[in-house]
């Protein structure tokens, strides 16, 4: 059986590898003096772009949820993570969620709930840090979900301008 020859044999300096190793070390040395881009997580964190899909949250407007408990997010959710129970209020919008729970162990961060919401009441936040030690802690109620509208401005802007084009 004929030995397959390389197309191009390495020349002498390449064969001793020494020069190549020095070249590599020089590159490392160069980067040693360049500015660092490693973040010291969790002390330092990245500011996420508005398009980032973190955990879904409910928009709180004037101290109340925008949500009218129409149940579309719950219906569209492919993972059945959302449970909504509607009830009646005296407000102009007759309907409000007396119970709104997202099971964060079921949630797959697809953002369908945000896309389907007719009231811009549920949006994806930039929060990605979700740690629980007990099963029941993973079910987020209205207390954990409601976020003031001021904190969600750039995402709402993104939803309005980019997603609803």
């Amino acid at each position: 059986m004929a030995v397959k020859k390389r197309k191009k044999d390495l020349h002498f300096f390449e064969r001793i590898y020494l020069v190549e190793i020095i070249k590599g070390l020089l590159l490392t040395l160069k980067h040693l003096f360049k500015p660092k881009f490693t973040l010291q997580y969790p002390e330092e964190k990245i500011e996420q772009a508005p398009s980032y899909r973190g955990r879904p949250v409910l928009v709180m407007d004037n101290g109340k949820e925008r949500c009218v408990a129409c149940g579309l997010c719950s219906r569209v959710c492919p993972a059945l993570a959302i449970q909504v129970q509607a009830s009646e209020t005296e407000d102009e919008k007759e309907r409000y969620p007396v119970l709104f729970e997202i099971n964060m162990l079921r949630c797959i961060f697809c953002g369908f709930c945000e896309e389907v919401c007719p009231e811009e009441a549920i949006v994806m936040s930039k929060d990605y840090e979700l740690v629980f030690t007990r099963y029941d802690d993973a079910i987020f109620g209205k207390d954990k979900l409601l976020v003031p509208v001021e904190k969600l401005k750039d995402r709402l802007e993104f939803v309005r301008t980019q997603m609803r084009k």
Binding site: V68, L80, Q83, A86, E88, R95, N103
Partner: protein
């Protein structure tokens, strides 16, 4: 017969029929709001526009009579355009509040906007403001902004409920619906307008905002409210009944049912006073025990008495199967002839529409089984006499509350040694019982009710008990039922430890050494057919969804049982 051509196919029709009637009968759907098969023609929504050859303009199919040789196009370009324009007009003042509206999911306007709408609105002016949340009556809420003025509710109250309580006021854009001054929309059929309202203008106060339509499962069943036996759908979410709606059956209830049935005939199923598991009275208190313990105790108690000392009260609220097994149990196991039944007649509470005086769903069934009625001389009063003189020492009561309606019986109860009660809920009778069995309600079992016309109709389980499993028992499943696990809060249903009375009785009979080995309630029903001519040859399939009219003139005879 004259013929009309609709969309290129010739159909026969009876003179006097309108185009929409001919089309509906032959499976061609012409969109409509104001037309309803059981109401008079009003022709004001203009949605059913069709093109008829040789007619200069589009015509409405609901009020145009079909004529010999007429050529109708329901899907021609002109007809579609016409309907699009009607949709645009209807949507001009209709608020865009589907997320809030309870009708969403079963709304005709929503559906037709999707099918026949253009998808956008050219209307940039301000929409009309009209009163919202107007309470028309005790059960019906009205939202004037959503109303499309189809007048179905007005025609229903006038023509079907025979209570002229609603009317249009104002004109044009300001038109709205009101009750006559000083009147309430409170006729006993008021909630039917919620069903026939094509939009969410009229809503059921009892059901408002409780659940979305698509979250529930619907099970075909029979209303237990009176001897009419209206065909209903039971709407269930997370094993809880949320509403009942009528189901079309032209020989029983048409499209309608009464408010009493709709409001009062399901709440006891998930009530707090449900009997959960078998109970025995120990030191004056009812204590929950295991099934085996209860059955063994019952057998030892029943063995103490002579056959003549035991009396049985059958139930017109229970199914035919329950009563048949009870009858068989009484005659074969207990060998007693003391079988009573407690009628529930409210004299005068009857009309020509649906409501019957007899407030029980299955008293005809009892009569067909040959269970003694008060007309034959054996009334609850006679029973009270027997108990007073200590002729009868043991009483078995099935799914009824005879003490609540008979004060005489209550006075003599202390003379009884043993009372065995099969009950769905705690009631006056269960307060006196020594042994209490949890009976399944009408919504938790298969069975048959025979209504006052002699139509045998089927019940199907809509909510599951501990012994049942939704998928395995072939029950209706909603999406949430299909995918929920025990870890999901929304899929942790309340399930009661209850069983159909016939199952419990068969278990006791087997303890006595008798062969009561039925697997399903259909087995019981087929055995009824073998014993009673009125039911001979019937099974659940032959009852179908709309019931089977029994031949009541057939001689009723008992072969095995006597």
């Amino acid at each position: 017969m004259p013929k009309v051509t609709i969309d290129g196919i010739q159909y026969e029709f009876n003179p006097g029929e309108t185009i929409i009637q001919v089309a509906e009968r032959n499976g061609i759907h012409i969109p409509h709001y104001c037309w309803h098969p059981k109401l008079s023609v009003s022709g004001n929504c203009r949605m059913c526009l069709v093109e008829v050859e040789k007619m200069p303009k589009l015509v409405i199919a609901c009020s145009t009579l079909a004529m010999e040789g007429m050529v109708v196009h329901t899907k021609s370009e002109r007809a579609i355009k016409g309907r699009e324009h009607v949709m645009e007009f209807l949507l001009i003042n209709h608020p865009l509040d589907c997320p809030i509206c309870d009708e969403a999911g079963e709304c005709m306007l929503q559906e037709y906007a999707y099918r026949h709408g253009t998808g956008y609105s050219r209307f940039i002016e301000e929409k009309n403001q009209k009163p919202k949340r107007v309470k028309l009556g005790p059960y019906v809420m009205f939202d004037a902004e959503r109303c499309i003025s189809c007048s179905r509710c007005i025609r229903f109250s006038k023509e079907i409920a025979k209570a002229d309580q609603l009317t249009f006021v104002q004109r044009g854009d300001r038109v709205t619906i009101e009750t006559f001054p000083g009147k309430q929309f409170d006729n006993p059929y008021s909630l039917n307008v919620v069903d026939i309202c094509p939009v969410g203008a009229l809503t059921n106060i009892d059901f408002r905002f409780k659940a979305r339509v698509w979250e529930m499962s619907a099970t075909k069943s029979i209303c237990p409210g009176c001897a009419r036996g209206c065909n209903i759908d039971i709407w269930v979410r997370n094993n809880e009944i949320l509403r009942l709606t009528p189901r079309l059956n032209e020989s029983v209830n048409d499209y309608w049912m009464c408010d009493h049935g709709r409001i009062n005939c399901f709440k006891f199923v998930n009530a707090k006073d449900r009997v959960d598991g078998p109970h025995l009275r120990k030191d004056g208190e009812l204590i929950k025990v295991k099934w085996d313990e209860a059955v063994n105790y019952t057998i030892s108690e029943l063995k103490k008495f002579n056959p003549n000392e035991i009396a049985v009260i059958a139930s017109p609220f229970a199914t035919l199967e329950d009563n048949f097994v009870l009858l068989k149990f009484a005659k074969q196991v207990l060998r007693t002839k003391n079988i009573f039944y407690n009628p529930h007649i409210k004299p005068g509470d009857q009309d020509d529409i649906l409501i019957r005086e007899d407030k029980t769903p299955n008293s005809t069934g009892l009569k067909l089984l040959g269970i003694q009625t008060s007309e034959n001389g054996l009334s609850i009063e006679t029973l009270s006499e027997f108990i007073k003189t200590k002729v009868i020492k043991c009483l078995i009561v099935v799914e009824d509350d005879p003490i609540a309606s008979n004060s005489k019986l209550k006075d003599v109860l202390q003379n009884l040694d043993t009372v065995v009660v099969f009950a769905t809920n705690q009631n006056k009778t269960t307060e006196y019982t020594k042994i209490l069995y949890p009976a399944a309600t009408y919504a938790e079992k298969n069975g048959v009710f025979v209504n006052f016309q002699g139509i045998a109709q089927r019940l199907r389980p809509a909510i599951s008990t501990i012994e049942m499993e939704r998928t395995l028992d072939g029950m209706a499943l909603s999406r949430l039922d299909k995918f929920g696990t025990e870890f999901d809060k929304w899929a942790r249903p309340v399930k009661y430890d209850a069983m159909s009375t016939w199952k419990i009785l068969s278990q006791i009979a087997r303890g006595f050494g008798f062969k009561f080995d039925y697997m399903t309630s259909e087995d019981v029903f087929i055995e009824i057919g073998n014993n009673y001519r009125a039911f001979s040859g019937l099974n659940y399939e032959s009852l179908g969804d709309k019931g089977y009219k029994l031949n009541l003139t057939k001689v009723i005879e008992e072969k095995i049982l006597v």
